[in-house]
Amino acid sequence: MIDNVNIESVLNENTICLHLKGKTKDEILKEMSTMLYEAGRISSVKDFLDDVYMREEEGITGIGNNVAIPHGKSDSVLQTSVAVGRSDEDIEWQSIDDNPVRLIIMLAIKSYDKTVHIRLLSKIATSLCGKEVIDELLSIEDKQEVIKLLSKEDQ
């Protein structure tokens, strides 16, 4: 397990929403960026979104099994962070298995950050290779459980 103090520094309940309101990819990217803004993690929704969309153009972020990992490395990021969003409905999203998306793990990366936070984000992303973890993340309602699942080191 990754140290909980560490994981809480990139992911806490303020940036988790298990019932997103947005019905499209664009709405959800905005909704989740706003969540990061309100949690004091980014300084501008617009600037951050510009960098997220730039990354979207470089390749698909739907990693299969109904999960997407949009991410932006941006000067607007105040602290490297993760936002977790889940939709009650299927969202259309370019994905490696051509399936729609339900779970969105958004990574906000501070420019030039090479600290332990970056490694945490990479580990969180890697944890999403495990189908069992995804299945749990798609159904649980407890935000603390979400944090715990994403901080598991080995599946």
């Binding site: 990354r55 470089e58 390749g59 698909i60 990693i63 299969g64 990992i69 991410h71 490395k73 490696i96 298995d97 990574l107 990366i109 950050d113 090479k114 970056i118 490694r119 984000l121 990479s122 580990k123 992303a125 890697t126 999403l128 290779c129």
Partner: protein, 107 residues
């Protein structure tokens, strides 16, 4: 038994680099291929391949979206180059196809 060494690297160097590595390792295990993957991400090079590992490998898999460093290490080896998303898509099938091609090539 095909021995694989490889490198993963993506534009941001945070997510796809490591997801792709994990998927390749999982698929290689499933197929019974010994496999070592080096990552070149934001935090730099990790799990760097040794000269010995490269020498013993049957194939070099470069799943990279960006320019990588140290490519001259693989001179003379069979190289498969693709984007991270190509190998993420159906990793076991992707690896098996490489083996088929390698066998055909070595006949």
């Amino acid at each position: 038994m095909m021995k694989i060494v490889g490198i993963t690297a993506c534009p941001t160097g945070i997510a796809h680099t490591y997801i792709t590595k994990q998927k390749i390792l999982d698929a290689a295990k499933e197929c019974g291929y010994p496999c070592r993957i080096e990552t070149q991400g934001t935090i730099g090079v990790e799990d760097e391949l040794t000269a010995e590992e490269i020498k013993n490998a049957d194939v070099v898999l470069l799943a990279v979206d960006v320019k990588i460093s140290g490519e001259s290490r693989f001179t003379g080896k069979p190289i498969v180059r693709c984007r991270t998303e190509d190998v993420m898509r159906n990793t076991s099938a992707f690896l098996r196809k490489i083996e088929e091609k390698l066998l055909a090539h070595n006949k």
